[in-house]
Structure formats: C-alpha cells, structure tokens
Amino acid sequence: MRLLADIVLMPLIAFITGLFLVLMYRRVRAKIERRVGPPFFQPVYDIVKLFAKKTQISHGVMHDLSIVLLLGGYITAEIFLPVPGFKGLAEEGDLLTLIYIMMVPMLGLALGVGSCANPNGSIGISRALTAMLAYDVPLAVAIIGATMTYGTTNLVEIVRIQQEGGMATWGIATMPLLAIGGYLAVHGMFGKEPFEIYIAPAEIATGPMVEMSGKYMGALFIMQCFQLYTIGVLYVTLFLGGGENWPLFLIKVAAVVFISVAVTNVYGRYRTDKVVRWMWKWPTGIALLGLALVMAK
C-alpha cells in the first residue's frame, strides 16, 4: 500500500515543485530585465489554457505516442528518485538506471518531433542530442567519481552516507572538483541560455516545439516542470546531501535551479560546436581532475 502512495504522490509533488521552479525561473528573468514578472499562478494558467485549446493538431499516431512516452518517462524517473519521506522504488533501480530512464522521455520527444515532418524540429532534435552528448561526458565522469567515493550506486544509500556527518560529508565537501564539474554539466542539462541550442527561437522557431500546439504544448510545459525538478533533485542527491527534511530539501533544489537560472539570463546562445568544445574542455577537465583525486585516495 505504501508503494501505491509513493507511486501517486511522488510525481504529484514533483509536478507542483516543478511549477514553483518554473515560476521562479520566469520571475528571476523578469527581475533581471527590470520587469514585474508573471503572477503567481502563471504556469498553471499556461498549462490549463494549452489543454483547454479547442482545436488540437496532430501529425500522426507517433506524434501522440511521443507525448505519452514523454510524460510516462518523467513520471518513472520521479518514482526512482528518493525524496525525504518517500523511498519509492529507489531500491529496485539505482543511479545508472535513473540516468537511462531520463533518456527515455528525450527519445520519446525526438520521435514525436521527427514525425511532425518539420525540418525546424529535426534540426532542434539533432542539436538537442549533440548537446546531450556534450554534457553527458562530464556528467558521466562526475557520477563515476561520486559512486566510487560512496562505494554504491543505490541512491538511498548515497543519501544516508552523505547525511552521516552533517555538512562535512556532503558530496560537495568531500569532492569539490567533481561537484563543480557536475554542476557545469547539470547546467547544460537544464538546456537553458548558454546551451539553449535546441529551443533557439530566433534560428529554428523553438526547435522541437515548432509543431506542438494545444495539449502537446501543454505536455511539453509539464515536461519542463518535471525536467527542472528531476535534474535539481539528482544534483542535490549526488552532491548536496539529499533531503533530511522537506523545507531544507526544497531550499537546496531551489538553490541549484536559482544559480543556473541566474546565470542563464545574462548569457547569449553558443553555437552548437562551441557548446561541444566548451563542455568537453572545462567541465570535463575539472571533473577528470576530481576523478584523479578520488582514484588517488
């Protein structure tokens, strides 16, 4: 029974926290541009309006299935992500499984956008996959380093190890270089400004979202909430000691997303190959250095 509660509650909490994160993202952006910014329930209004659209245009069965796969993939990822109070299925599938479950919605979106038969979407997806290859190398190095120091890939175990000695045993304290390299990769994973090569409204008309309208676009907004939440919680679980209690946990996740969002709004957009070169130079370098330190111990 407990598991059933976890399965239903964890995605719901993820969605609500995600809405707060999206609201924070738009408010911070407005404040940086010296604007007032959207009202409190704006993300909810957007999603409800998109779902309440009277005409819904689809480009075939795969276009619909991709949205279903997208939502399903992220809901699964939420269930395998340990949060304070809920263990979900983190025992059954470990960190490696989570990384690959997070690729299922990306593949689903890619297939859906491909079936829209719009080259803007295809270019967007090819850039998104290139960016994924770019930021996943430093992320892999960081994850390998982390699992080597913790000795296990079981997420619940990792959180317990980090909380034994309070702040001193947090991931960021024991392996600062890996944490920094990991954060730069996670910033790329958010897909925001400096690495926002696949939305790129000016060049490829919002890339993958070009043919999405109505409830398809609403599902992508929901995905954005899930994405911000999942990546934030993943980083907190690996390097910031996971969640002891809900308020501290939410502050940590908000901090991770806030720094990334603050950085985002002062940057232009890199070219695709610049993203790949940058990601394979700085974050990978720092992370490899951290890994070398870990291996030396």
Binding site: R35, V36, G37, P38, P39, Q42, D46, K49, A52, G60
Partner: protein, 258 residues
Amino acid sequence: MTDKPLKSHVRPPQDTMPGGAGQGCPAPDAQTRSIWRRIMDDFADHCRARSLFVLHYCTGCGAIELPPTITSRFDMERVGITPMVTPRQADILLITGYLSLKTLKRVILSYEQMQGPKYVLGFGSCTINGGMYWNSYATMKRLDQYIPTDLFIAGCMPRPEAVQQVLLKLIEDIDAGRANAWQDYYRNYDFYLGNQQRLFGAGWNTPTDVIGEARHYGYYGPGTEGEHTRLLAEGGGSAARLAHAEYPSTALTGRIKS
C-alpha cells in the same frame, strides 16, 4: 477585377467597430450546458484570459510598438502575455498596419495554422478602412473581410498605451466568454473564401483543410460551404486555373491522409 463586386453578400455586422458596443457573435454553443461543463468552461476562460501567447508577426509599420509593450516599460507579462514564435502556439495574431496582397496571403496561412480560440487584433486605421493607402491597388482595405477580427485600434500608429488598452479589453472579453470571432471563420468560411478569391483568383487556397476541421470540431454551419468552396474545389482540383505557381492546387484536397 472582372467579376461583379459581391455587395449582395454583406453579412450581419459583428463586434468589429472600434469601441462600439455591438451584440457580438451569436452565443457559441446553443445547447444548454450542464453545471459541470459551465464550471469547466468558466475556469478555462479564466485561464485563457490570463495566459495569452502573442504571435509577433510584424506585418506593417506598427511592429515597433510591440517591444515596449512587452518589455520593462509596459510589461504585458504581468497579465500573462508573452511573445511566441510560431502561429501553432500563438493565441493572438497582431496585424500591425497596412497589408499588401502578398502579405495578406501569408497572414491568412498563419491564421489558419493557429489553434482553437484565436484572436486577431487590427492595429491602426490601415486595417479598418485602408488608412492612408486607401486608394492603392496593392493593399487590402478591410481586415475583417478576410479573417475574423476581434478588436481594432484606431490611430496611425497607436502607442503602447493604446495597445495595452486593447489587450486588457481582449482579456475582459475572453474572461466573459464573448471573444468567439474565431468560430465565425469556420461557420462562414464561404464568405471569407469568397472575399479572398476576389483578390487572389479561384485557384487560391492554403494547405489547411478548414472544412475538415470545421466538421471535426462541430463548427460546421450553413455558411461553411457554398458557392466559393465549390468554385475552389473544381478550380483547385483540376489545377487548370492555377492562380499562382508559388503554391500548389492540391492544398484544398488537403484531406490526403498524412
């Protein structure tokens, strides 16, 4: 143009006069709505009013009024209006200023690619009665003859305060559930197509299958199909009288299953 102007086909006036009260469109769906549906519709209208995506399609000289409206000085994001790039995702289509015939074709295509409750705002006198290009052979005179328009703003070119006023009026209309001009495009498609054909010839059409959409979503009224759609079906189908090489005749038969 060779054929007789279509004076006889004037439709009943609609809520298009700037600031005019007017009785607006006939009520959207006549069947009595159950409590649950009414609550849902009210909630949906509530959210629709507070979240509008604007297609920043700079058609004429008024486009320069938009950036100040959306950025820090007037900041329409306070009421939930954000610019969006493609017509698929947009709710509002801005016609800022004069429309040459070639631009009108692109505007009609973009309008038909927009989804569900969509609103058109005519900026400036060029969209109302032709403005200072009234006697030009190359510009269209009344926007609401070619695509149903919700609100017009008088002025040549209205300042951001006026744009803000019209957007707030639109939000008020949507909230009250009155902004249903978009259904008129489906219900009286023949009228609009007739006017478009007068300018572009019988072979004119867009890849959007408007009649199919009208049937699918239940907006198929008596005015949807008529003399002009038949004219197009023969003209479009046989491709003999292809008005212009730049777009295909197979478009109306857009019912080819993708």
